[in-house]
């Protein structure tokens, strides 16, 4: 989303009525202690404060799942919808009100399983939405069932002897959709990177897809333990037009210059399993944005009636 105008004014410093991150908190988050969703919520609140977005001028749309409780905790308009279907609602809202900032929050089951059809098509529509996939590799709300993104062998209530399929990779899937215009990955245990990624996603005009890797303290506390313990297993994708979080180069030794306009390289990197990669895989601002191309100028009631009369002339007996 384009925040240039507001960012340039730098309201955070100048405006006495400036809203702090905490002003964007509505109800207290009711997730389990240690849930990765808190990390995402904190980063979002920081972003909203940084951009000084007016609470009434934005909407958070979600599906169903622990992660989809998100809108209840943000001081904004919210739509806590039905399982898997946040994207159609958000697309409709954006078509109706292109001037609103619309954020979408989905879980991994929500987005990549029941909502998979909408995910592909919403990527293709490329409406100007900031889309957060809160991927804890498990069905949290319904208590521990295997998700499409669960690593092979995951023990869960629906796969007590270990899940049988290799996981679906949301990055590869999204990068495979024609018209994908922004694909990035970040992680709840690297807050500075999470924040910087959301910032980049917000700034992108188009469908900004961010996969946030996170742990469910109840059911997948250990999915990323190795990566959390050993930063060398993570490679940062860096580029002057990519995600740039200050100070991370000290923490992560492995980093790679990756030009986010290079789709082939992006796909190749998404496919590799040697290291965990965080950063911007792909961005192309040249794709048409659905709410732009579907915008039609309003017509007054009088004008409509005039046109309708003409329309009816065609059918006149």
């Amino acid at each position: 989303m384009n925040s240039n105008v507001i960012s340039l004014l730098n309201l955070e410093n100048d405006n006495p009525q400036c809203l702090a991150a905490e002003d964007y908190q509505k109800d207290e988050g009711k997730w389990c202690a240690g849930c990765g969703d808190f990390g995402a919520l904190n980063a979002v609140k920081r972003l909203l404060a940084k951009e000084q977005l007016k609470p009434e001028k934005m909407a958070f749309v979600s599906g169903i799942g622990c992660s989809s409780r998100f809108p209840h905790y943000v001081n904004a308009y919210g739509f806590h919808g039905i399982h898997g279907r946040a994207l159609p609602i958000a697309t409709g809202l954006k078509l109706a009100r292109p001037e609103l900032d619309v954020f979408v929050v989905m879980g991994d089951g929500d987005c990549t399983s029941i909502g998979a059809g909408h995910w592909i098509h919403a990527t293709r529509y490329n409406a100007n939405l900031t889309v957060l996939l809160l991927d804890n590799n498990i069905y949290g709300l319904t208590k521990n069932q295997t998700s499409p993104t669960s690593p092979q062998g995951t023990i869960s209530n629906t796969s007590p002897s270990g899940s049988v399929l290799p996981p679906l990779d949301p990055l590869q899937a999204t990068l495979g959709v024609s018209n994908a215009s922004f694909v990035a990955q970040t992680a709840d245990w690297v807050p500075a990177h999470l924040y910087a990624t959301l910032q980049a996603a917000y700034e992108h005009r188009g469908f900004s897809f961010v996969r946030i890797l996170q742990r469910c303290p109840k059911f997948t506390p250990d999915v990323f333990t190795e990566q959390v313990k050993n930063p060398d297993l993570t490679e940062l994708l860096v580029h002057e037009n990519g995600v740039n979080a200050p100070g991370l180069d000290k923490l992560f030794k492995a980093s790679r210059e990756h030009d986010p306009t290079d789709i082939d390289e992006a796909r190749a990197l998404a496919q590799r399993t040697d290291l965990l990669r965080l950063g911007m895989f792909f961005r192309d601002e040249s794709f048409p944005v659905y709410d732009d191309i579907r915008t039609v100028s309003p017509v007054s009631a009088q004008e409509k009636i005039r046109k309708l009369e003409k329309e009816f002339d065609r059918y006149a007996v």
Partner: protein, 620 residues
């Protein structure tokens, strides 16, 4: 069958006739019938046109499955339905003709103007097939007239496929004394984007048809017309619904293609952008409902259009709209079901699922236009109700209305129909998103962008502030308030008008598109000295008021519907096991009156005569 010999011209005056043009698909029957129907309408006749559509786009030609065509019923008075059997047919080949015979579509004395070339075709198999078809049809008293349609057409064009239809139009024009200048204008209009030569050739073909009929057919029919006193338009129900949507100020139609609803979105796609709106073709019907809901949440007037299988997919979103009290208009152009059913054909089988097709209690409003004219006006009504009551309004039309063509009074547009859907004025201090009026359940809608109104809409049980709350009182209050709105709407409605006597032996109750056929059957019963009336419901949820009292004035009440019901006396079917027609279910439950039903699901509109026979049966 007997072929008639040429003798002197006989002219009969009749009050109405039903004509069919039947061809292989792709032979232009639609164009022929369209011009013919329009011409009749412009000459002041009442007209009703029905399409005969094959299931496939290009089925193998010259078979009983390739039948494509039109039925045009026209008369001196207003015509409200497709009537009974056809009195005259123009058939381009024996197989399509046979298919109509097998459907019992022809009157016993139907005149059939039949292409003559098949009888003497060079291919023996074709000749044999022709002979067999004629043999099968000889059980009836049809008057077969062999016409060299192809041969005559080839005198004007090189490819008879593109021309026979206009020759056929000429035959009809002569038989029914249609005004050639009107026909010429219609043809010129159809081909207005083509070189003038095309119009000339088509008119030439019409003239040839007329000349051939003049020289060879010694009969004519006169169907008088009445002077047209008011401005009228003629269109299909789907066109009327699409224009109704525009006239109602609808700004977004989200849809996924499905017969017979799709053409509504074709009509809309062609024009809606001129009115500041769009058609969004979604990835499926679920998404279409979601996009419409999201747009309505954002303050646009939104519509989603579908048919049975699509309705099934939309159910979860409709429940969300009902639970979150976001206005949404859903147009369901009913087709035969269940499952993929009869994709192109009419049925009224979505009534119960429209009313109750959600897990949980999800009260919504259901209305069924009774005519093509009402397809237009119902969209305006639907929008108004959806917004006033913050609810889902389902408009149930059907394949009969969708592709039927009828004239109606040209509507006078009202700029209030275009009113802005939301009030963006400052919110009263402390106003909550569901500040239900405890009496009516109504509340003010708050739309994103309104300062101070931030809240999170949810499909979970919630309180007045839209806060998730699972406590017994909140849940019961929510249910009560959502339900109350239906009763409040009902209090604004009038009891349905009765067609015929206010009391008597039998009341026939119908809903939606069957009005014309039912009333025609009631007229016949009345003429036969029977004490029969009818009443046609538009509101199905809530029902129009006063029904129990109305029903009490008749010895018997029965519904007539295009859907399935068991027949007592069939194996295993008793009073206890019988499943009723869908409206009968509802009326029985609502009024505790022992309402009977006569239903049929032949994949065709009901015929007045069949309804009449059911009246004779039930009135005993």
């Amino acid at each position: 069958m007997n072929s008639i010999a040429n003798s002197k011209t006989s002219i009969s005056t009749v009050s109405e006739h039903t004509v069919e043009i039947i061809t292989d698909s792709g032979e232009g029957a639609q164009k022929c019938a369209h011009v013919f129907g329009q011409t009749c309408a412009k000459m002041g006749n009442g007209v009703w046109t029905v399409e005969i559509i094959p299931a496939e786009i290009e089925p193998p030609a010259h078979t009983t499955t390739s039948t494509s065509g039109n039925i045009v019923r026209f008369g001196t008075e207003k015509i409200t339905n497709w009537g009974d059997q056809s009195k005259l047919a123009v058939a381009f080949n024996d197989q399509v003709c046979l298919s109509r015979h097998r459907l019992d579509s022809f009157d016993d004395n139907c005149i059939i103007l039949h292409e003559c070339s098949w009888e003497t075709h060079e291919d023996e198999n074709v000749r044999e097939q022709y002979a067999k078809a004629m043999e099968e049809m000889s059980s009836k008293n049809y008057r077969l007239i062999k016409v060299p349609i192809e041969e005559e057409t080839l005198k004007v064009v090189d490819n008879a496929q593109h021309g026979k239809n206009m020759f056929a139009l000429g035959l009809l024009a002569e038989i029914y004394q249609r005004d050639l200048s009107i026909i010429e204008k219609q043809i010129a209009h159809i081909f207005r984007h083509k070189p003038a030569k095309i119009t000339e050739i088509n008119v030439e073909l019409v003239k040839r048809g007329m000349a051939w009929a003049r020289d060879n057919l010694k009969f004519q029919y006169i169907i008088e017309s009445k002077p047209v006193v008011e401005n009228r338009v003629v269109m299909t129900g789907n066109q009327a619904a699409a224009l109704g949507a525009v006239a109602a100020g609808m700004e977004l139609c989200a849809m996924y293609p499905i017969t017979p609803a799709t053409s509504v979105s074709h009509e809309l796609a062609a024009i809606i952008e001129n009115y500041g709106g769009i058609v969004h073709q979604a990835e499926d019907e679920i998404a279409a409902a979601g996009v419409a809901l999201g747009a309505s949440y954002g303050g646009k007037v939104a519509l989603t259009v579908t048919s049975g299988p699509g309705m099934a997919l939309k159910t979860e979103f409709l429940a969300l709209a009902i639970m979150s009290e976001i206005p949404l208009v859903v147009l369901d152009v009913q087709r035969g079901g269940p499952s993929t059913g009869l994709p192109t054909k009419v049925e009224q089988s979505d009534l119960l699922s429209s009313l109750y097709g959600q897990p949980g209690d999800a009260p919504r409003i259901v209305i069924a236009p009774r005519s093509i004219e009402e397809c237009f006006h119902s969209m305006i009504t639907a929008r108004r109700i959806a917004e006033t009551f913050r609810c889902v309004v389902i408009v149930l039309t059907d394949a009969n209305l969708a592709s039927g063509v009828q004239q109606f009074t040209r509507p006078e547009f009202d700029s209030r129909w275009q009113q802005d859907p939301v009030d963006f004025s400052a919110l009263p201090e402390g106003l909550r998103p569901y500040d239900w009026d405890p009496e009516t359940g109504l509340s003010r809608r708050i739309v994103p962008g309104t300062p101070g109104g931030q809240h999170t809409v949810t499909g979970l049980a919630h309180d007045e502030s839209s806060k998730v709350s699972y406590d017994p009182e909140s849940n019961e209050r929510g249910c009560r308030m959502r339900s109350r709105k239906l009763a409040v709407l009902q209090s604004t409605l009038l009891p349905p008008p009765i067609y015929g006597e206010e009391k008597g032996d039998l009341l026939v109750v119908g809903w939606g598109s069957t009005q014309g056929a039912i009333e025609e059957a009631v007229d016949r019963a009345h003429d036969a000295g029977l004490s029969v009336s009818s009443c046609q419901l538009t509101f199905l949820s809530p029902l129009e008021p006063g029904l129990k009292e109305i029903f009490s004035r008749y010895r018997k009440v029965m519904t007539v519907e295009i859907n399935y019901s068991d027949t007592i006396g069939d194996p295993y079917i008793t009073e206890e096991t019988r499943r009723y027609g869908q409206l009968a279910w509802i009326l029985r439950a609502q009024t505790l009156v022992d309402i009977d039903c006569w239903t049929s699901c032949p994949g065709q509109p009901l015929r007045p005569n069949d309804i009449y026979n059911s009246i004779l049966e039930k009135i005993k």
